[in-house]
């Protein structure tokens, strides 16, 4: 279990512990298996959808982020071991997402994820790791506490850092790693220590994940920007053409490969263009076009000859 926040959490945690102890003692004698004691209720249990894809996507990327972190990969028994474990979890379909409700304290505590289906309202054999859709992986308002020195620091949910810590936490439980307490729900300090261990051992992995996700986010943001997506606007109507002036228009479309007209030649170019568009009535009688070929706008025609002068508009 991860670190609980809030003043009353000690009491709540003690209550869970008490329930478990009582559960073990009573149920253990009466029944073969005490997994029937439901501690976590699940709603919308599934192995598909955008949330599931997000969890699996992050899990799949984890080995890549861990590749250059020798300390973290050593803690997990090698990158290959982690990669193999994650691939098997995915291949066997043992990862699931669901909304969780803690049965002991339905109001106060949110379970962001858990390992082992024993004690959860899930069909036998359904999944080994569950990530809560209402937990810190997805919800920004669900804060995760992590030790910093002698104090705890709270990180908002849905951040890359919190997501990586949550996945590492569940993987550590599922792989049964040494140096990681697998009985952390009865001991708050042990729980905090677990997060601290992951933070210390896998600092580079977390850093790498944050960096990679930031650059991916930037890339997506850039690609999705309306400025970049839209093609350059082309002022085709005479009004817009007049309003905007020619240089911008020329730069974008027509004069790119041609000689730029001089300032005093703009009027003629505009007139010729309007003539081509058949809208010369707005500017009075048309001047005889100086450069024209059939079906080609004179706008694109370079005005080359040296002695040429257009009458002023």
């Amino acid at each position: 279990m991860g670190v609980l926040a809030g003043g009353g959490m000690w009491l709540k945690c003690f209550a869970i512990g008490l329930l478990m102890v009582v559960g073990n003692q009573t149920m253990g004698m009466a029944a073969e298996n005490d997994c029937d004691t439901i501690l976590v209720d699940l709603e919308g249990l599934r192995k598909h959808g955008p949330e599931y894809d997000e969890v699996v996507g992050m899990m799949s990327s984890l080995a890549g982020w861990m590749k250059d972190d020798r300390r973290c990969s050593g803690f997990f028994g090698g990158v290959e071991a982690v990669e193999d474990w994650i691939q098997r979890l995915i291949r066997y379909g043992l990862i699931a997402v669901a909304k969780t409700t803690n049965m002991v304290d339905p109001e106060g505590m949110i379970i962001s994820g858990f390992t082992s289906s024993c004690g959860a309202r899930a069909p036998a054999g359904y999944a080994a790791i569950f990530i809560a859709t209402n937990g810190s992986f997805f919800d920004r308002d669900v804060r995760t506490a992590m030790p910093t020195g002698s104090r705890w620091k709270y990180y908002p949910g849905a951040s890359v850092q919190v997501r990586v810590i949550l996945i590492l936490h569940e993987l550590s439980h599922s792989m049964g790693l040494a140096g990681f307490s697998h009985d952390d729900r009865l001991d708050m300090n042990m729980s905090a220590k677990n997060n601290g261990v992951l933070q210390a051992e896998c600092a580079k992995t977390i850093e790498s994940a944050v960096r990679m996700n930031k650059s991916a986010e930037r890339r997506i943001r850039g690609a999705g920007s309306p400025r970049r997506r839209q093609p350059p606007s082309m002022p085709t109507s005479p009004d817009r053409l007049m309003r905007r002036g020619l240089p911008a228009y020329n730069k974008k479309r027509r004069y790119r490969a041609c000689e730029q007209p001089k300032r005093h030649e703009w009027g003629n170019a505009v007139r010729n263009h309007l003539d081509w568009l058949g809208r010369t009535d707005r500017l009075g009688p048309a001047q005889p076009p100086t450069h024209r070929s059939n079906g080609v706008s004179p706008i694109g025609t370079p005005l080359r000859h040296a002695g040429h002068r257009d009458p002023p508009l």
Binding site: M1, L4, C35, W85, S112, S117, G119, D139, V142
Partner: protein, 104 residues
Amino acid sequence: MALLSGTQGIVTLHCEVGKDGSLRPKTSEGPRVLADAAKANATRWRFSVPDSDEAKSMVIIVYTFEIKGATRKTGPETTFAFEFPNRVQVSSPQPYLMPKAAKR
């Protein structure tokens, strides 16, 4: 992994016995997560091979994976029993739920 998910069941392995007595699983029936575990286990076995052409014969091994007993705080204790001629019984209690909690 199977234990964490609470998967239990029967896996039937069809294996080929090599000349050196090793087993090579060919086909399997049963839950996939358990079948892979059974295959991994079977490849560690060695049979004594008689001097005959039957050395390359096929054998069938039946694994029964069972979740049994009270959950444990620490790693589950797995028991492994072989019953002649070809039955294997694997029993283990399921590790209990390990939640990670946070506060809104």
